[in-house]
């Protein structure tokens, strides 16, 4: 073959290779653009957070690290829980969720099943979502019985600390650097009177609460807010279970806590009605003694709790009956009867 004949065929080969490379580059460019677009959107939409919370709030046992857009959480006494961002807002009114007053940046979202009482035959009452915002610091005041350490172990936040009561006059030095919000938690009454907030910047949103167990699953809560350089009691309430005590810690403030409590009560009422109706229908069927008596008693307890119109009263009535309902659930199982739930 002559030199003149080989040269043009090499040129065509070059053209083909160059075309192929050009096409591949073009394809890779389009694909990478499409991917980066979708991942940015996922991190910045409040509606994505809303969807995540709303679906997790109905299913127990999930744990996720999420990036949340910066937003204030608003929950007036009779209103709904709403996240308000710069250009958008999202409501999570029906989701049983506990979240601090402001969110933004990295957070841990955890959902846990809510049981009337833990035992071999648990009675499920839905699930609860906690959103641990990483810009909120939780300071737990040590007690002799280590009850506060038990609560602290459930808090999934890198900014949590257990401090000795003797450090209370120097609280400002215990706050981790960069914290936007602080929640001080105690399980002994009278401790918060010793707190000096002189060194705590006015820009830091600080609140406190005392949890006092009064019955088997729950107890009373006292919420405190900042008044000058000290804490002043702002309101009192009840918590009906350990899960709700943790909810009070996450919320930090009574208005936000009552919003989560209301959402839990809403769903618990529906579940109570389902369980009560089921137990009543089964007790009227062809089942034999003692199944009928046990199921009828369970139905009556649940129906009586549902009669309470106030959400906090309803939840307290429900959780106060937990021991009896759990005993009935166990007795039904032992007698090979259908259980309550």
């Amino acid at each position: 073959m002559k030199r003149g004949q080989t040269e043009p065929s090499f040129q065509w080969l070059f053209v083909l290779i160059a075309g192929g490379v050009l096409f591949l580059l073009f394809g890779v460019l389009i694909k990478s653009c499409a991917q980066s677009g979708s991942s940015t959107a996922e991190g910045l939409e409040l509606s994505v957070v809303q969807q995540k919370i709303s679906s997790d709030a109905w299913q127990g046992e999930s744990l996720a690290e999420v990036m949340l857009p910066s937003a204030e959480v608003v929950c007036p006494e009779q209103g709904s829980m709403t996240f308000i961002g710069l250009t958008q807002q999202a409501s999570v009114d029906d989701a049983p969720v506990f979240v601090s007053s402001g969110i933004g940046g990295s957070a841990t979202m955890k959902s846990v099943p809510l049981f009337l009482q833990e035992n071999d035959v648990p009675i499920p009452f839905g699930s609860i979502v906690y959103v641990f915002d990483h810009q909120t610091a939780y300071l737990f005041i040590q007690d002799r019985e280590n009850k506060v350490a038990e609560i602290a172990s459930s808090v999934l936040s890198p900014r949590k600390k257990i401090i000795d009561a003797s450090r209370l006059p120097y609280l400002s030095t215990e706050i981790p650097e960069g914290s936007l919000r602080v929640v001080v938690v105690a399980v002994q009454d009278g401790l918060l009177g010793n707190v000096d907030l002189t060194g705590v910047s006015e820009d830091v949103d600080i609140s406190a609460l005392v949890l006092l167990p009064t019955f088997v699953n729950g107890g009373s809560i006292r919420f405190f807010s900042r008044s000058g350089n000290a804490f002043r009691e702002s309101s009192r309430g009840q918590y009906a279970s350990g899960e709700m005590a943790l909810g009070a810690v996450v919320s930090g403030k009574s208005t936000l806590y009552s919003c989560g409590e209301r959402a839990i009560a809403k769903r618990a009422r529906l579940l109570s009605n389902v369980y009560s109706s089921r137990s009543e229908n089964l007790s009227r069927s062809s089942l034999e003694s003692p199944c009928v008596e046990y199921l009828h008693e369970a139905s009556t307890i649940l129906a009586q709790a549902s009669e309470k119109n106030d959400d906090a009263e309803f939840l307290n009535a429900l959780f106060s009956s937990a021991q009896r309902l759990t005993a009935l659930q166990g007795a039904l199982r032992a007698a090979s009867c259908p259980v309550i739930a």
């Binding site: 053209v15 075309g19 394809g27 839905g126 579940l271 089921r278 229908n281 259908p338």
Partner: protein, 163 residues
């Protein structure tokens, strides 16, 4: 007839033209592949969403089997499903479950193997009548009758407004 000199002058233009043709063919091919991939992804996404929804429904304590008799992922307690069905027709309850289930229609069917009868129960219905783009799926599981202690073959039928 063109001389060798003329051909050499036209060569860069020819190369550019061939490159442009190759690039356009590549672009058309890429767009077609992307489109078919997108519609395939949509179908996979819809199926995954339906499956996730069915799993979510079956694991709701409102209708799921008690823990100690639970059989597999999809087990529905018939007495609970009956009570839930009545309750979910109430407007307030419907609005509450809407935040979880959205614009969906959910039916539970089960076959009583002893009699061979097929039973149906509407669990939740919030599908707007004007919906035209509907995704449907059927998930199989078991239906537990607490009265007799029997388990039946069950199906959760889901119709969901898409888009």
């Amino acid at each position: 007839m063109k001389s060798r000199g003329q051909l050499q002058t036209l060569e860069p233009i020819l190369i550019v033209m061939v490159l442009a043709i190759i690039a356009s063919i590549g672009l058309v091919w890429f767009m077609r592949v992307s489109e078919s991939q997108a519609s395939f992804d949509d179908r996979i996404f819809d199926t995954a969403k339906d499956l996730a929804m069915a799993k979510r429904i079956a694991s709701l304590p409102e209708i799921s089997c008690p823990k100690d008799i639970s059989a597999g992922t999809y087990c529905v307690d018939l007495a609970k499903a009956d009570a839930f069905s009545e309750l979910a027709s109430d407007r307030d309850a419907l609005l509450l479950y809407y935040s979880l289930l959205g614009e969906t229609q959910i039916h539970l069917s089960w076959i009583d193997l002893s009699s061979g009868e097929l039973h149906n129960l509407s669990l939740y219905d919030f599908l707007p009548p004007e919906s035209t783009d509907i995704s449907g799926s059927v998930t199989y599981g078991s239906v537990y009758d607490p009265l007799t202690g029997e388990r039946h073959f069950g199906m959760i039928t889901l119709r969901r407004a898409v888009g």
